[in-house]
Structures are given as C-alpha cells and as structure tokens.
C-alpha cells in the first residue's frame, strides 16, 4: 500500500497572455528506399519479397471478388458470390506495410473495407510463427521443410478467408461474419467492423487491456478517413489520450495507451469527399492536435509506398511499446474501385484523378524497387505472381466446394454458456492500493447500493481482470455513491473516471472484454445507454456470434434507472425492453439488496455481455445480504410470495408495488396472489412463470417501462401462447403511460405505474 490514489485538484486562476503552440505535423518524411532498408539491416531480402507477396495476395483476392460478380474468375466461374464487394484495390501498400511493421501478438481492428488488413495480418503473423505454431494451424500438413509448412499455412489462411467471404462453415467466423466482420483472433485480428468508426473504441479498449495486463502488445486501429467525423471515433481519440494514463495520477505506471490510429485515408467516405467537402481540415492528421499536446506523434504517410508505411508503423509501434502511445498516422492512399462494385465513381471524381493514382500503384512501384535493389528479377516477380494466383485458385476452388453451415445451426454461437468459475492464477487476487471500503451491515442488512458495492469489491479482489470505470465513479464515488471507496482500494489502474463519452465507455469496455479484461462500466443514467446503443447493440451483443465464437465479451454495463425524482424526460427512462430486443445481450434487473449483490457477482463472472439495470429508487432500500460470496444465477426468477389465485409478474421496483397489491388483494378480497420477481429478463425463466400461471389461471405483468413495446408484452404473449388452456382471463399488462416522463411530481405520479394500477388490473380479471 503506497500513497492514496485520491487526488484533489488544487489549481489557481492564471490569465497571463500566451499562445498555444500546436506544434508541427510532419508529412511524407520517409526518405528511404529498399536499398537503404537492406543496407541498414531493417529488412532482409526475404522480408522484402514477402512484402510484395502480401500485396499480391490481397490484390488477387479482391480482383477475384470483382471477377466473381461477372463469372469471370476462371477457377470457379459458376460460383454465385453473395455478399459485399467493398474492395480496397490500390490500398495494398497500407495494409501490407502496416502489418509488416507489427508483431505476431499485436492486435488490429479493421473496417468494412478490410480484406487487405485481414489478409496481411494473417500472412505477416504466419511468417513470424515458429514451426510448432504453424503445425498447429495445419495439423494435416506433414511437410518437413519450413517453407512448405509456411506455404500450407498461407494457403489455409486464404482458404479460411475466402470461406468466410463465401459464408462457409470453414470460414474464420464460421460463415457468421463475412467480408465486413472477418476476424482471426488467433493472430490478434479483433475484427473488421461494418459500422463506420465502430471498431475504433474497440481498438481503444483492446489497448486499454494491453496496458492493464502489461502485455506490451500494440493495437493498430485501421479506420477510414470518413470515420474521423464520427462521434465515437473522436471520443476514442480523447479516451486514448487521457492525461491520467501518463501523468502523476498514473503514479508508477505512466504509460500511454499502446494504440496506433491508422487512418486509411483514401479520401472518400463512401463518396463524400473528406478533403474538401465534408470536413474542414485538409489533413486528418491535424485532428491529433485536438486530443493530445504531443499531437499524438501524428504524421502523414505516403500509403502508395509500402516501405514508408512499414517504416511509420514500425516506429509507431516501438513508441507505443515505450509507453508513448497513442499515435495517429494519416496514411495517404487510394481506392481504385468505388465504394462497392455498384458505385460507378464517375459522379464524384475524374478518370484523370484515378489514372494519376494508378500511376503510383503500390505494387508496381514496389516491383521496380525490388528490381532496382536486385532482390528479384523480372522472372522472379512473374514467378511469384503466378504462385500467388495459383494458390488463390486452389483455395477458392476448395472454398466454393466447402460445406455451408447447417440451417439448424443458425442460432449456434448466440450466447456462450461459459463462466469464469475459477480465476487463472495470473489474475487471482488483487494487490490493494489501500484498505477495502467499509460496508456498514446492520443486523445482517445492507442497502441496495452497498450490496452492489460489496459485489464489486468482492469480484475485484477475486479477479484482477475486473476493472471499473465510468463518469465520476472514482474520487467522487459515482453520482449515487455506489462505488465510493473503490478507487482508494484498487487504485486508478483499475478504477478510474472516464470522460463524458458514453458510447466510448461502452465501446472501450467491449474491446477490453474482447482482449482479456472483464470490465464493469457505469452509465450514470439508463437514458444515456441510447448514446451508446451502437456499442452495446451492434458491438458487444454481436461479437460472440459474428466471430463464430472466437471471442467472448465478458462485460457488465451497469445502467442506473431514474424515475420518480422529477428529473424529466431524459433522466427517468426504463429502457430494458429496448435491449431485450437485441439478441446477444443478457439483461438483468435486481429488485432487492440480496439480488443486487448476487446478480452483479454472477454477471461479472458470466462470459456474455450483461446489461445490469439498477433502480435509483431502490438504492437506499435495506435488506438482508450475507457477507459471504454467493451468486444469484442469471435466468432464474424468484417466487417472492406464493399464492393460488393470481400471478403477478414483475421486475425492478415494480416488484414491491406488486407485493403491496398482493397485500391489498388479500385484505380486500381474500385473494392469494403469487408474486414473481423475474430478476433476469434475458435469459428469461419462463418455466417459473408458466408453472405459476398454470396454477392460478390469471396473470398481470408489470414493469415501470412505458406500455408500448414493453417487454411485458413479450411475456404476456408468451403466456397466452404456451399456457392458453390454463388461462381463466386475459393476461393484463401494467406499465407507465405511453408518454414521456414529466418533471412535475403531480404529472410524474400520474405517469408512473403504482400498486393501485396493479390492483386495478388484478381486479379487472378476478
């Protein structure tokens, strides 16, 4: 235990005139050549040839896609390719150059135009693998010579890539991802991303994981110029460049996030011109100056020169490994085809422009460099071209004939059923920065919020991979003081304030979870989840499935639901129904202190992303909470009160309204109502609900959400579907009015459901 991580700002006003120096951002500083690289020993002749081969591999695959559209790819002329055609022909120097500057264990994230990066990360990684590692990738290959082994592995890489493009079961993502979501986690490729900019916070989170776990790996985040107008991308630049990672707050571990934001600047965001139309800066590199005083070491790099890209990424990765990240490289390149093959291009650019860029084609330029350096002669180059084409033809022919996924497996990989039952010994047990927060237990009872804190504390002690961040959660202890004392106990490495960037908070947590951490993040108000909904719904929820179960996303997003406090329409919503509609997420909502602790601990140990909803109205509620380690399993409802005449199904604070209504029913009519607290909405414990309805024949489903589209409707319709013959009356639903939470407490009381509404619904069917 060293000094307390708590930090009190102590600045003074200072208005002395001065000028902010934005520094200088170098462009095209690479002056080297192949000869100079070889002479300097920064590259071997073998590596020089490999660089050409990697570019040829990319171009061959993408030209195959172009030809397949018209049946002109001879080896599989009849194959009907269904899928995107976002080819990157012209950008090979960027993908191959960058990946050749990375190490095997380094990570990349990529984009909807990501064939090049995916292929190059694979080929570069394979070349760095030991013979044993290669053998594991091609167990059926009996070759003794390394070059034969490597050739087999390269062909297998092509085969699995093309299979994924073709939606085959042998694809990297088992045909679940395809061109725009291809990933190979075994070589650190964390996934292409079809949401423009969507992969950037994931890369940032992956870098956070590398930093936290002290791995020394770098993340190279490929994203297009168009993405650099997207909110979550700018949030990510800010997140990555936070002072607290490198200044006095980091204490002995001052290391910037090891991430290279590599802008694949092909000058078009689909067709929008980033140079002089939809952005106000001439070079995206300038953006770096807005996020870090060191301009994120930004450079503009000639992406048509594969050696320049390689050089820039090698230097950037080295800086990252020294703790100097994040970096931004604005790589100037060009996309010969349109956004896709259905884009004729002539509506927004000239043929002359295209010809000028083709004249500096990265492959043709590099061939000349190889000839000039006498690394290869013309025959050697054409021999390499031939072998790349033949290898592609073999892989494509196999892929076209490969098995499709079985239709009955359409939902396989939706959720993982794994949990963190035992913590690997590397991560077990925390080194504490200070004393654990004191949690006041009176007669064995805790408040709901202390129960949450106890769960977090216990899980953070148990597993070093559990980190916690959110807005104002550290020194301040959270807007509702749920996490007060965690910073003191675990230090700023594991408990830190995030910028007010909800999308980035959820997105980085998703990326960190995909790269080895088990993050818990807090959304101060559930309403803000809508700002992060892409990261929650399109990223966290989908990556286990889209990657064909290559990755798991053990992530908990704590969302605090308002309501009843007069905070109005943007701080009072109960939105779990929205997220129950998103397959891939778990959604839980405890109603008691006991469940708050047990469910949060279970959620943290689960390997699925869990949206953990808390009620601000319940934070102060007291109830028995054992101090020991216990879990409330996800997907298990609880019968809060048994009864025979009527079933009341609810979750969250409405459970307590149901209990009140049950009291009234007993007193007024002698009716014994059974009250069920669902606790988990996804997975849903239908069995408990149906068993109860079969007994009672009557059911009211209640939640605090507005009626329209509420999950109560899903439950009610499922009951009538599966227990129709047991119903003695229609299933009733209770929720908030179909309106917007008002500020006026008179109006809000009219807006929210209460025990009387539940009683009225019950009376209507008794």
């Amino acid at each position: 235990m060293t000094k307390s991580p708590v930090y009190l700002s102590d600045s003074r006003p200072k208005f002395t005139p001065y000028e902010i120096d934005c520094g200088r951002i170098p462009a095209y500083r690479y002056q080297g050549s192949l000869q100079s690289e070889l002479q300097a020993g920064t590259m071997t002749p073998g590596e020089a040839v490999a660089l050409l081969e990697d570019m040829l591999v990319i171009r061959e695959v993408e030209e195959m896609i172009v030809k397949l559209r018209s049946g002109a790819y001879e080896p599989i002329g009849q194959f009907n390719y269904r899928g995107p055609t976002h080819v990157s022909v012209g950008q090979e120097g960027t993908a191959a150059g960058a990946c050749s500057g990375l190490q095997l264990a380094d990570n990349i994230t990529s984009t909807h135009r990501g064939h090049g990066e995916s292929l190059a990360k694979g080929t570069c990684a394979l070349r760095q693998m030991t013979d044993d590692q290669l053998r594991r990738r091609v167990p059926n290959c009996k070759a003794a010579r390394r070059e034969d082994l490597l050739e087999a592995a390269l062909e297998e890489h092509l085969y699995r890539t093309i299979c994924e493009l073709f939606g085959k079961d042998d694809g990297y993502c088992r045909g679940r991802g395809g061109s725009m979501h291809i990933a190979d986690f075994t070589v650190g490729h964390l996934g292409a991303n079809a949401i423009v900019g969507g992969g950037v916070p994931i890369a940032t989170g992956a870098a956070l994981a590398n930093r936290c776990l002290e791995r020394g790996n770098v993340v190279c985040c490929f994203a297009g110029d168009g993405a650099y107008a997207n909110g979550v991308v700018l949030e990510s630049l800010n997140f990555a460049a936070q002072a607290q990672f490198t200044n006095h707050l980091a204490d002995g571990r001052k290391r910037g996030l090891p991430i290279v934001f590599l802008v694949c600047n092909n000058h078009y965001g689909m067709t929008g011109r980033c140079d002089d139309e939809v952005m106000g800066v001439e070079r995206i590199a300038r953006r770096a100056a807005g996020f870090a005083d060191n301009n994120m070491h930004a450079e503009v790099v000639n992406g048509m020169n594969v050696l320049a890209v390689r050089d820039a990424v090698r230097r950037a990765a080295a800086l990252c490994r020294q703790g100097q990240g994040p970096l931004l490289l604005d790589v100037d390149c060009y996309r010969y085809w349109g956004h896709s093959l259905s884009d004729p291009r002539n509506e927004y650019r000239t043929r002359e422009e295209e010809a000028a860029w083709r004249a500096v084609d990265p492959i043709e330029s590099y061939k000349k460099a190889l000839l000039a350096a006498k690394v290869l002669d013309a025959q050697g180059i054409s021999g390499l071209e031939r072998s790349v084409a033949q290898r592609n033809a073999r892989a494509a022919t196999r892929a076209a004939a490969a098995a499709d996924p079985a239709p009955e497996d359409v939902l396989t990989f939706m959720y993982t059923d794994t949990k963190c039952e035992t913590v690997p010994k590397d991560f077990a047990g925390a080194t504490l920065a200070g004393p654990l927060p004191e949690i006041k237990r009176v007669n064995g009872e805790l408040t709901y919020k202390d129960a949450l804190k106890e769960a977090l504390v216990q899980e953070m002690v148990r597993d070093r991979r559990v980190i916690f961040y959110g807005e104002d959660v550290a020194d301040y202890g959270g807007a509702f003081k749920v996490t007060k004392g965690l910073l003191e106990a675990f230090g700023r490495e594991r408990v830190f304030n995030a910028p007010i960037s909800e999308a980035c908070i959820c997105g980085t947590a998703c990326g960190a979870a995909m790269n080895g951490l088990r993050p818990v993040v807090e959304l101060m108000y559930f309403d803000f989840a809508l700002m992060s909904s892409d990261q929650i719904s399109n990223q966290a929820a989908k990556w286990h499935y889209m990657s064909g179960a290559q990755t798991e996303v053990p992530l908990v997003i704590r969302a605090s639901a308002g309501a009843g406090k007069g905070y109005g329409g943007q701080h009072s919503q109960t939105l779990e129904s929205v997220f129950c509609h998103i397959p891939g997420l778990y959604v839980v909502y405890p109603a008691t202190p006991y469940d708050a602790k047990g469910l949060l601990k279970a959620a943290i140990r689960d390997n699925n992303p869990v949206l953990f909803v808390e009620s601000q109205a319940l934070y102060g509620m007291k109830g028995p909470v054992p101090e020991e380690d216990y879990l409330v399993p996800l997907g298990l409802a609880e019968v809060k009160r048994p009864g025979t005449d009527l079933t009341l199904v609810a979750w969250g604070p409405v459970v307590h309204d149901c209990l009140k209504a049950a009291d009234a029913l007993k007193a007024q009519r002698g009716v014994a109502a059974e009250v069920i607290d669902l606790r988990s909405l996804v997975p849903l414990d239908l069995e408990t609900v149906l068993r109860s309805v079969q007994k009672t024949g009557r059911c009211v489903v209640a939640s605090q959400a507005v009626q329209i589209g509420s999950y109560t409707a899903e439950i009610a319709s499922t009951i009538q579907d599966l227990a129709f013959d047991y119903l003695d009356a229609p299933v009733k639903r209770v929720g908030a009015k179909n309106g917007i939470a008002p500020q006026s407490h008179i109006l809000e009381a009219a807006f929210l459901p209460n025990a009387d509404d539940i009683l009225a619904a019950a009376n209507a069917i008794l």
Binding site: G697, I708, F724, L727, D728, N738, I765
Partner: protein, 456 residues
C-alpha cells in the same frame, strides 16, 4: 396472370353460396370442362366447370363457407405463377352481431375519451368462456354452454364450471372408462347421460344411445323447406276440397297409347287438365301479398318431386304453350335433373301452381301445403280399385282422390269446388284428349295391381 375463379350466380335471387367440395386440389392440373367444385344453393348441389386450362394455384374459399356470388374463390394459372394478394375469405354477412365492447385505452395514441361507455353491452352478448374453463369442461366431458358466467362480461371462468358441476351432481356420476372415452371423443355431456348399469353406472351402450339420439344439424335444404312451408302455413289460410275421379277410361287410354309407343304418365294428363282449367279460372293462377292480387298470364307449373334429402319442386315454365308430348318430355327432364341434384335455382323458382302427386305411394288421400307465392296446390292420391255404383250397378272402377289446398284469401269454397270439378271432368272425358274417339268399354281391363297404380 393468374385467372380468378368466380363463384357463379346460379339464380337471379341467389346472393350467396357455399362450396360443398373442391374436386381439384391446389397444384392439380385442370382441363377445360373439368369440374372444379360443387356448390350448395338453396335447394341443390351444382357442379362448376372450369372455363380455362391450367393449374389450380390457390383455393381461397374452403368448403362450407358461404360467400357472396361473383366473389373469387380461387385462382387458376400456370404453375409457379404468383397470385394477387387477397383478403381472407369472410363469411357473407348475416344478421349483424354487436361488436364486442372494448374499453381498453389505445396503445398507439391517447384518446380524449374511452371508446365506449362502460357497462354491459346492449346487444345480447355472445357466450364467453375462458380458455381455462373451456379446458376444464372438455377434460370433464361436460358442455359448458349452459353455465352462467360470473367473470367480466359474463365470462364463464373456472369456478363457474366447478360450481355448475357440483350443483348438477357431477361427482355422483359413475361411468366406465370406455364410455367416458367415447363420450369425450364425441363431445357428449356426461351430465346429460343416463346410466342403465348397476346403481346408474353409465356404460358404452348408454353413450351410444345418447349419440344416436343427439340432434343433428338440419341440412340447408331442409331448413329452406321448413322456412318456406312454415311461412305458407302462417300467412296463407288453407282450406281443403276433395273430389274422387274415375280414372278407368283414362288409364285404359294410357295403356293403349303406351302400347303404341307413347308412354304418358298419369301426371302428364293431370298436368294438362290443370293447365287447361287454370286458363278458365284466372283467380287460381294468381298470387297475393295480402293487399294486392296479381294474376299470372302464364302457367308455370310446379311438380313436387320427392328426393331422399327432401322435396324439390321443379317448375315447367309457360306450361300452357306445351303439348301433352312436350309436357311429358319437360317433366321427365326436370324430374331427372332433380334426382341428380342438378336443378338450377331458376328451374325451381317462379311457379304459379303446383301439383303434388303421391299416387305411387299408396295413399288414400292427403293434403298439401301451398307453395309461397301461389294460390293453391293439388294433392293427387293413389288410384285405387273400388266398388262404385254405376248405372245402378256396383262395379269396380279405378278411383283417384284429389285434394285442392286453396289460399282462402284468393279463393272461396265454391270456386275451389268448381275448379276441382272442372279438372275432374277433363280427366274423365277421354274424348277431350283429341285421340281416336272411343267409348270407354265396360269391362275394359284396367287391371290395376293390388290397390294402387304405380305410375312413374
């Protein structure tokens, strides 16, 4: 383009029809002239032929559903051809039922006031029962339709079923498992079964008896008959006049004509006699709505034909224009169609007078009920050999009784008597039939069979 298959309009007055059976299934090839389906009209089953060739692409209207005529019941076309989107077929509107009251607030938009005032619906509510109560009743093999519901909107709920069963002594029912199973399968009500076994135990035989006695649905045809004849009896004051006709000479003539290859029926002669007489008595060839009397210039003669399923009355139009031979041919044709169920609605409508001949059924005498829209009906009984006094001697003659049922609003007793006797005279006067003049000879061998002339 798929061709719609249209429900034909079989009669001028037909508003709706139901398909009895599709003879082609979806996907079946259809040739021109193939029978696609059969249709039940008010009194017969019609076959509907295809006018086109192709594949039956889609059946929209299943058997049993009554739909308006001219509506699309299916589609014909080439295999795989798309068919236009169609709304689901709906039962033709009948007596409009009060819509169920719905007082729930809209889930889409707030409304200033509830949709309907609270309180029980004004129209008699349909029988409401919860799924749970329905299942309990089915499990207990009882009919819940008589149970008074205590739930919202009078819905029968579980406790009502239980209370009803207790009140009706359900617990005391003793029934063999096989009998219970049979009763459940046939949806009988255990409470309605009487047991004949030891201490009232219900056995399979008891269930089978109850099944045999269970009311069956009336066919549409019988319902129509019931409706029309009840209407007639309730609106037209009937009275009855009977005469005896000596048919000896006419039968003699008929036998001779038959030998000559002219197989007239007794009905043909009676029909001709009736047609001629109706020209003399225009009031009898009339109809009334109770306020006006309408004379019909043509005689559309109905001939009741008894079928297994009920009674049909094909109508010979403009019978006064037909010769005896034409009458014979037309009535044969219609009777044949009636027996095959192929009469069109128009062939069964618009009669002005009807003859019901039960001569072949060995009856002494009977009365008939007037068809609505007509003034009278003639009931013809069997021709029986009877001793009668003729020229002072007792002789055996072929005697046939005819009874006229007349609508007293149009016809008085004397007119009925004169009308009936005018028919009788024609039937007893062979010369009238414009055939070789020959006095009926005494002892002419009419040789009726035992009791009755069985004439087709």
């Amino acid at each position: 383009m798929a061709t719609p298959i249209i429900m034909p309009k079989f009669g001028q007055m037909t508003e709706e029809s139901a398909i009895v059976e599709w003879l082609k299934q979806e996907g079946d090839p259809v040739a021109k002239g193939d029978i696609l389906f059969t249709v039940e009209t008010d009194k017969s089953v019609m076959e509907v032929e295809s006018f086109a060739e192709g594949t039956l692409l889609k059946i929209l209207v299943p058997p049993g559903l009554s739909v308006p005529v001219q509506s699309t019941v299916g589609f014909l076309g080439q295999r795989g051809e798309p068919i236009p989107v169609q709304p689901a077929p709906t039962q033709a509107p009948r007596v409009p039922e009060a819509p169920p009251l719905d007082t729930r607030p809209s889930t889409l938009a707030p409304r200033p006031s509830p949709l309907a005032p609270p309180g029980p619906p004004a129209a008699p509510a349909r029988f409401r029962i919860s799924p749970r109560a329905r299942k309990l009743a089915a499990d207990c093999v009882i009919d819940p339709s008589g149970i008074q519901g205590s739930g919202p909107m009078g819905r029968v709920v579980e406790k009502d079923v239980r209370a009803y069963m207790e009140a009706r002594g359900y617990g005391q029912i003793r029934i063999s498992p096989a009998a219970r199973q049979l009763a459940a399968r046939e949806r009988l009500d255990l409470l309605s079964l009487a047991g004949t076994g030891d201490s009232g135990r219900i056995g399979v035989a008891d269930v089978q008896r109850a099944l045999a006695e269970r009311p069956r649905a009336m066919s549409r045809m019988r319902q129509i008959i019931a409706q029309r004849l009840t209407q007639s009896v309730l609106t037209a004051p009937h009275f009855f006049v009977t005469v005896e006709v000596d048919m000896t000479a006419l039968l003699c003539l008929r036998a001779r004509l038959k030998e000559q290859g002219a197989p007239y029926t007794v009905t043909d002669f009676i029909s001709e006699a009736v047609v001629l007489t109706l020209k003399e008595f225009p009031d009898v060839n009339s109809s009334t709505d109770g306020k006006t009397i309408r004379w019909h210039s043509h005689v559309h003669l109905g001939l009741a034909v008894s079928l297994e399923q009920g009674l049909v009355v094909p109508v010979i139009r403009n019978a006064e224009e037909l010769t005896l031979a034409e009458l014979n041919a037309r009535s044969r044709e219609l009777a044949d169609k009636a027996r095959k169920g192929k009469l069109t609605p128009d062939e069964m409508a618009g009669g002005t007078f009807t003859i019901s001949n039960m001569g072949m059924l060995d009856v002494e005498n009977f009365t008939a009920i007037i068809n609505p829209g007509e003034a009278a009906i003639l009931a013809v009984a069997s021709t029986l050999s009877k001793p009668v006094a003729l020229e002072g001697k007792t002789v055996v003659r072929s005697i046939m009784k005819m009874t006229l049922s007349a609508d007293h609003r149009l016809i008085d007793g004397a007119m009925a008597a004169r009308f009936l006797n005018a028919i009788k005279q024609k039937l007893q006067d062979p010369e009238l039939w414009n055939l070789p003049a020959e006095q009926p000879q005494r002892g002419c061998v009419t040789t009726p069979g035992v009791g009755a002339q069985r004439l087709p």
